[in-house]
Subunit: 372 residues, 2 copies
């Protein structure tokens, strides 16, 4: 990897980030101590189970869900299945799922598989769900459950979950909260009947996901795929990473908020950009903008050559559509989208260096400068 200034700056920390030294140490120790199948009877297994139980307890405490209703599963997709499928199975013939228009695509796909119909509720220009329309959509006997994300991983907007939950409670509909982009960055959601969380988003290694139900939400446990054992080292690392994030969260958030503001201003100053500026509560570490008339991939590559990793609209090679459905829902035709996710180790100097590189890269891609 090219490191022009002696160091790579990773600004694509949503869904993955380098492990912190403390998380890495805990993970490696757990590889040695927790490799066994936690469901057998011998000492190796009991030791793995004890590590898993501890991790689960610690994560449940942060999420505010009862530990026995906090499930550690192998992947986010399986966590979505558990929560959406598990709750829908208790709701009889009701076949409609109500969802905000900017839920994650894989979650919407699970909803489409489980439901006879998925009704999407629009968002306003700052990415907030239309609560009036949400209430109207819930007003039907055929609604099985509602999906409202806690925060959006592309634009950072935090949804008004208290109001959304009031509406679902009054309609007698369970509310599933996708918290895969928010845990470890802001206060965990206080409202909702079940949630899904993604440890890799808070700085843990890949290998586990969390499905948590609040009492007294009814859910039919999906028949466990007995063969899919829990990844104990990943679970332990998830707990330690979350603990670390929670300890410093507010201070880190204040710093990152300043940095994302700086990034938004800088993005605006390069010209012909649409900078997303949340008007209400939002994730402190996410900034996103679209550079009109620029190829997002070319810009990301140019930045990469200069030592900076950013997310780009079409960066996910397996997503069929390069167009972001989130920007579409905002009513913005986003081309040349740059998504920035700051992890806690990012410094002001990193961001200032990025601001310089961004200006240079935009110029280079516009063809005024030869690419470096």
């Amino acid at each position: 990897m090219s490191e022009p200034n002696g160091r790579r700056v990773f600004l694509d920390a949503s869904g993955s980030a380098p492990l912190s030294p403390r998380t890495r140490e805990a993970f490696v120790a757990a590889i040695d101590e927790g490799w066994a199948d936690p469901e057998r009877l011998h000492s190796e297994s009991r030791q793995a189970r004890a590590l898993l139980d501890g991790a689960r307890e610690s994560i449940a405490a942060v999420l505010g869900s009862p530990v026995e209703r906090t499930l550690v599963v192998p992947t986010i997709g399986l966590a979505f299945d558990r929560v959406v499928g598990g709750i829908a199975a208790t709701r009889g013939e009701r076949g409609v799922i109500v969802a905000s228009a900017i839920e994650r695509r894989p979650l919407l796909r699970v909803a489409q598989r489980v439901a006879s119909e998925v009704v999407t509720v629009p968002i306003d220009a700052s990415g907030v769900i239309d609560l009036e329309e949400f209430r109207t959509s819930l007003d039907s006997d055929s609604v099985s459950l509602a999906l409202v994300q806690h925060a959006n991983q592309e634009i950072g907007t935090i949804q008004p979950l208290m109001e959304a939950h009031k509406a679902t409670v009054s309609a007698g509909v369970p509310l599933v909260v996708d918290a895969t982009a928010s845990i470890g960055h802001v206060d965990p959601p206080q409202h909702g009947d079940a949630l899904v969380a993604d440890p890799a988003d808070w700085g843990a290694p890949r290998g586990v996901a969390i499905a948590a139900f609040r009492a007294p939400t009814r859910f039919a446990p999906i028949p466990p795929m007995v063969i899919d054992k829990v990844n104990v080292p990943a679970a332990l690392a998830a707990a330690v990473a979350l603990e670390e994030r929670e300890e410093n969260r507010r201070a880190v958030a204040r710093t990152l908020e300043t940095l994302t503001c700086r990034l938004r201003d800088a993005a605006e100053s390069v010209g012909e950009t649409t900078v997303f500026r949340p008007t209400g509560p939002s994730l402190p570490h996410v900034a996103t903008f679209a550079c009109a008339k620029l190829d997002g991939e070319a810009l990301a590559s140019e930045l990469d050559r200069r030592g900076f990793a950013v997310g780009s609209g079409s960066a996910c090679t397996t997503e069929p559509s390069p167009q972001s459905h989130v920007w579409e829902a905002l009513g913005v035709s986003g081309s040349g989208i740059v998504r920035i996710g700051l992890h806690p180790a990012i410094t002001t100097a990193d961001v200032e260096a990025f601001v310089v590189a961004l200006g240079e890269s935009v110029e280079a891609v516009r063809g005024f400068l030869p690419p470096r």
Copy 2:
């Protein structure tokens, strides 16, 4: 953990085992080098993708499947889904799946979900599928696919895949081979149209599973759960662990075969035991026996106290039935089942120490000796 002789002896190495030093080293290096999402555009991502591609190529070479048809997925359950669901989806209205009676339960569950009917084919006293009955079951226009495992993880029996495949080819039915208990222990299966493999069974950490299709098997790719990224460090560790196993496989197998013979003889000599003795090809590292009139869990606990971890029939706390369907299919009422899986680091001294402990433990559980 109690270690009466200064060292624990782990004899439950099927589906999990301590990492070898070489695999551990590769895993930890890949945690540092391959933590990024392999599907984005920046250097960190490209580096992760390069590690993943290398791992996939190396595993595909051992399995004898085209690399572009060798999929790395997060769990065995998802690999079963991919292979069984993916092939069944191309088979139109045909709704019957033909399976040996001793396929793994989670695989049978996937088959039951996908098929209108699952026809099971009995096995003989040495655990081998009844080929005559298998051919008869295939002789119908409604057969979607057939499932025959390569080797059984409980009793070690290797199935006659060449004959089974001849039968499925002549019936025009795809053959799916569950190789989750055999890869890394014996020659990979030469016959079949698709296979599933479990790296954790060959000494890799948990986190990935393999679904491989041989050309020209038709399969409908299950819509990928885009959010479930591949665990790159686990994939790399899987490749390195397999490479290591393959290098020494034949020599290790000869040693382990001697040790499993010794274990079977010793088990027989403790009295009132039914020792499973495969009469044809079988896994070199697996030995299993049932101690009549003994509680399997009590025996396993007694052995554990003496420093030896073994598998017991009801050891899997999440399996609903403590009775093994494999022993049932053999026509043996197995109570007090002890399953032994030897990993390559197990020595003759370990086995001799176990033989002594087994005798003592059986006596203790029978009540002749106070438990230590």
